[in-house]
Amino acid sequence: MIEGIGRIQDMMERQSYITDRAIATTAFLAMELRKPVLIEGQAGVGKTEIAKVLSAALDTELIRLQCYEGLDVNTALYEWNYPKQMLRIKIDEGAGASADEQEAHIFSDEFLLKRPLLRAISAKEKSPVLLIDEVDRADEEFEAFLLEVLSDFQVTIPELGTIQSQHRPYVVLTSNRTRELSDALKRRCLYLWIDYPTFDKELRIITTKVPNINERLARQVAAFMQVIRNVKLNKTPGVAETLDWAMSMMALHQEHLDPEAVRETLGAFIKDRDDVSKLRGKPLDVMLGSMNGAEEEDLNEWIQSVTQRLEREVASR
């Protein structure tokens, strides 16, 4: 079965998603055990991406439910198409159908607006991937409802009856941990915590996602990100920021991190005003000044020593 995990990892990497054993193991077990996966981690570590990659790798539909405060069952599950129902009634006015017949007609499949959860449950061909994104933003009431759906994979629509899932969806839930989810929901799920990538992993991500980037620039960007994530910022940059930045450097035809260019492109990866003013000036110079060290010295040592100097610099302000 060990090949199973490796196979999943290959499958995901073929979709240009650089993964590691932990992610692959969880994905593998989720499929074998047919349990939903709850993925937590800071913003920008690629939680949502996992669901997308899974659906691409399995060649199946991705159905996404974006959660927000106040999200309710009508938006998540189904709603009747009222304007269409009204029109139908008007059109049929002279037809002499009885009220019962009419009712049966306008509360049929044709007038049903399927929202993500219902779409996932009623998939006809094969199991879709259902992504329930940022579930921590929905309120507890909705969480309880979700729990019900995730345990039975069936829903009851009063006018139509019970719909039972034929192809049980693969479910991926993500959370940014703005609040703790209920134990009941966690118990229903396998759990995966994703950290910011290691230097090696991030380097692989950069070279995969930014084609034609030269090795030196890629290494410098990855090393720079390792340091910057050690500094206490309001918004720690994620992988998306790394890629944006690497791409802007490419657009500027940079072969390596040059101080001028970094200052100009700071906005590509530092997206908080306070953070920008925290780093601008001396702290940034400290980092850039020692950039060459990243290539020569032992990388971990370099990261540590630069982080320390940077922290001192930031603290002294």
Binding site: I2, R21, A22, F28, L38, E40, E69, R179, D200
Partner: protein
């Protein structure tokens, strides 16, 4: 650095499960692994244990890394628990590693994990402060008061095991408090949510129900079904200081909390002096006197010294995730005289403010004209407080209603 390979270096063995008894052995170890995790407060119930057994069938049980990752997927439910998980996993691995070995006289050293809850040591207290202020109402508890001057009890860094006498309670006092709480409860109950509920007086048309209801008229809309926004009550978490310097007020404040809990519903309450205790249960459906009695008996450091920072940090770590969200108002009742580290308090307050809808700090000392929040703890906490108000008498508590909306 790759966290995974780090925590569980790849150790491949070359064995397979050869017999039933070995299988049973493995099962037993997985079960006790799950139990051990539960005693260490991880989310581990029979569901997880069954999953873990299924996982063991899916991975190569000789491969430490895969077993580790598989078990972690099942048993871990928040990153903070990772160190505990790793520790217990290592013991587990040691126990199962010999299972597959052909002849193994290996006695596995049974390890009993003991929580390292070394008794929390008291920080030595330094200078004691003597404060004078206009006292709040005495035992009488009338609405408005001009109390006499009296010296406040000192705050003490020494944890004390003392019990309190709550017998001298007065009936009018209780009614007054109940009345103040009602005002507050009303105010709390008017926050609209974005969800709808069916209502005859609503302002928005409920299209779905309108359609259903009018089918009997052949679809001509005659009756309108309406809905309106649901009222959403914010949740309230009250954290009350019962250290010795609060003696004059704590009884009165606890009555207030009791009344709130029984009127408003979603209220969680905690008391602290040098450590934090959840008292929601004590106040639930209990006679106030009985409840206070029980608290006095069971909360050990009653009337001890004050470590606000420590107590709030405990709250953040143990309770905040479950109880506090953007719809929660956190109400802290304390005089802010802290013997602990001001930085710890500041961090705890920052965390609390970030997570909650609003942080209200009621300080009985604010009732005094001369009081300035200069005590070290109080002044550092101030920047993370949304509302800072007095709480020395009923009028000030009734005023609280003004601030109770998130």
């Amino acid at each position: 650095m790759d966290s995974v390979s780090d925590a569980a270096p790849r150790e491949r063995g070359s064995f397979a499960l050869r017999s039933r008894s070995k299988h049973a052995d493995l099962q037993r170890h997985v079960i006790s692994f799950g139990r051990e995790l539960r005693t260490r407060e991880l989310l581990s119930t029979s569901t997880e244990i069954v999953d873990a057994l299924r996982v063991m069938e899916q991975v190569d049980i000789a491969d430490r890394r895969d077993v580790y990752l598989g078990m972690r997927t099942v048993f871990l439910s928040k990153p903070e628990d990772r160190p505990i998980f790793d520790e217990v996993f290592n013991q587990f691995w040691r126990r199962i590693a010999h299972i597959g070995e052909v002849d193994d006289p290996n006695s596995d050293d049974e390890m009993t994990a003991q929580g390292d809850e070394g008794g929390e040591l008291q920080e030595g207290g330094e200078a004691q402060q003597q404060l004078r202020l206009t006292s709040p109402e005495g035992e009488g508890g009338e609405g408005d008061e001009e109390g006499d001057e009296e010296a406040l009890p000192l705050y003490s860094p020494v944890e004390m095991l003392a019990s309190k006498d709550f017998s001298r309670f007065q009936a009018e006092e209780m009614t007054e408090i109940a009345r103040a709480v009602l005002v507050i409860a009303k105010r709390l109950a008017t926050k609209e949510s974005r969800r709808f509920r069916v209502s005859r007086k609503g302002s928005t048309i409920d299209a779905r129900r309108t359609m259903r209801r009018n089918m009997k008229y052949g679809g001509t809309i005659i009756e309108l079904a309406k809905k309106r926004k649901k009222i959403r009550k914010p949740r309230l978490v009250v954290i009350c200081d019962v250290s010795r310097s609060m003696d004059t007020y704590s009884k009165f404040l606890l009555q207030f909390i009791h009344a709130m809990q029984n009127t408003i519903g979603k209220v969680e309450s905690f008391v602290f002096s040098t450590s934090l205790t959840r008292v929601t249960e004590y106040f639930r459906n209990e006679e106030i006197l009985e409840a206070l009695d029980r608290i006095a008996r069971e909360v050990h450091d009653w009337s001890g010294g004050t470590r606000i920072g420590q107590s709030l940090t405990t709250f953040n770590e143990k309770w905040a995730k479950k109880l506090v969200d953007r719809h929660t108002i956190v109400l802290i009742l304390s005089d802010g005289l802290d013997t602990g580290d001001a930085e710890i308090l500041r961090q705890a307050m920052e965390g609390l403010q970030e997570r909650s809808g609003k942080v209200i700090w009621l300080n009985p000392l604010l009732g005094s004209k001369d009081y300035r929040p200069l005590a070290r703890g109080m002044s550092t906490a101030l920047e993370h407080i949304d509302v800072f108000a007095p709480a020395h008498n009923l009028a000030s508590l009734a005023d609280l209603s003004k601030h109770l909306a998130v």
